[in-house]
């Protein structure tokens, strides 16, 4: 089936405004948006820029706006969208660098602000790792499957309105570590969370939960962290 891909093109050096370029592609069953982009790059226009690495929904590099929704290009099959025209645009809310590639700097910077690593001042046991029981892991299991694709943060209206807002992905990471039974770092993170650019900017719009390709619910983690913050303070 012939599908027209309307692809967002932008080259800051050309001085031209961004525009949508049409690329007709013969799509076969099972073909993903990423495959189609590869087809376009190989046979129609080698200057097309997009990010990808694993091609199997693990690395999180290929998130983009496909027919209005943030999704992974490598996990979205073109025929399943049931459209003869497919719009492919960069993630909204982040600065486009070129074509489909966006500047991820503020996204990573928000992660660093919540200290997205295990914090525990006690020395680990010398003979083994820090132990976590399977039951304890279950509590945070879903949140550990985040691949940092930024679909959620880029779909969040609160983030569009305030680029300093941590965003659902960073808050989810804060949740993932703060609710890890081996972690003692909540006090180090609370400054970034209990903050006008933190937890309180979320208005439970749930775009993040809607679009997460790993079926994570960042909104729920935000609510858990709010409760934790309030309980810790009062």
């Amino acid at each position: 089936m012939k599908i027209t891909f309307k692809v967002y093109r932008f080259d800051p050096q050309s001085g031209k405004a961004p525009y949508l370029q049409d690329f007709p592609v013969e799509v076969t069953p099972g073909m993903t948006i990423l495959d189609a982009l590869g087809e376009i790059k190989a046979h129609q226009d080698g200057t097309l820029v997009y990010r990808r690495s694993c091609r199997s929904g693990i690395c999180g590099s290929c998130a983009m706006k496909i027919n209005g929704f943030n999704r992974l290009a490598c996990e979205t099959q073109a025929l399943l969208l049931k459209q003869s025209v497919i719009h492919v645009e960069p993630l909204p809310g982040l600065k486009p660098i070129k074509d489909l590639a966006v500047d991820m700097e503020i996204f990573y910077e928000a992660l660093a602000r919540v200290k997205h690593w295990l914090i525990n001042p006690d020395p680990p046991p010398t003979d083994k790792e820090r132990y976590q029981s399977p039951e304890d892991f279950k509590k945070i299991e879903v949140s550990t499957s985040c691949i940092l694709c930024a679909s959620c943060t880029a779909s969040c209206p609160s983030f569009w309105a305030d680029k300093n807002y941590l965003g659902p992905a960073a808050i989810l990471k804060a949740y993932r570590y703060s609710f890890d039974t081996r972690d003692k770092g909540f006090a180090d993170r609370v400054g970034a969370l209990d903050n006008k650019h933190g937890l309180w900017r979320c208005h439970t719009i749930m775009n993040c939960t809607d679009c997460c390709p790993k079926h994570i619910n960042p909104t729920e983690s935000i609510c858990h962290l709010r409760r934790m913050t309030v309980e810790n303070k009062y």
């Binding site: 609160s158 300093n164 006008k196 937890l199 709010r226 303070k233 009062y234």
Partner: protein, 122 residues
Amino acid sequence: MDRGIGSGGAFAWFFQRISGVFLLIALLAHFWVLHYSNNGDVTFNLVAQRLSTPLWKTIDLTFLVMAIIHGFYGFLMVIRDYVHNHNLRLVLVSLVWTVGIIVGVLGTLTIIAFKAPGGGGL
């Protein structure tokens, strides 16, 4: 860049939930008292009598304070969401506080000073 580390917001958020629950209950009670408890008869005298008692004055004062805090905090939220220009934000936030306080004082005066015309109550 303004990262606002440590500037808080937990109490405001928490209080917004408490006042929200209070307002929900108070509003339902208000509708019931006003429109159903007397077969739906709403007359000035009836309301005036009620508002003259200390108990109702206290209830109405709490209602007033909660509603103002809840409502005006909502305005502050919108401003925090969308106004990033420091000066404009200062102006708008001051405006919200000023109007909130004026409305609060006027409401409080009205409730406290109210006397039923026919006598009775305080």
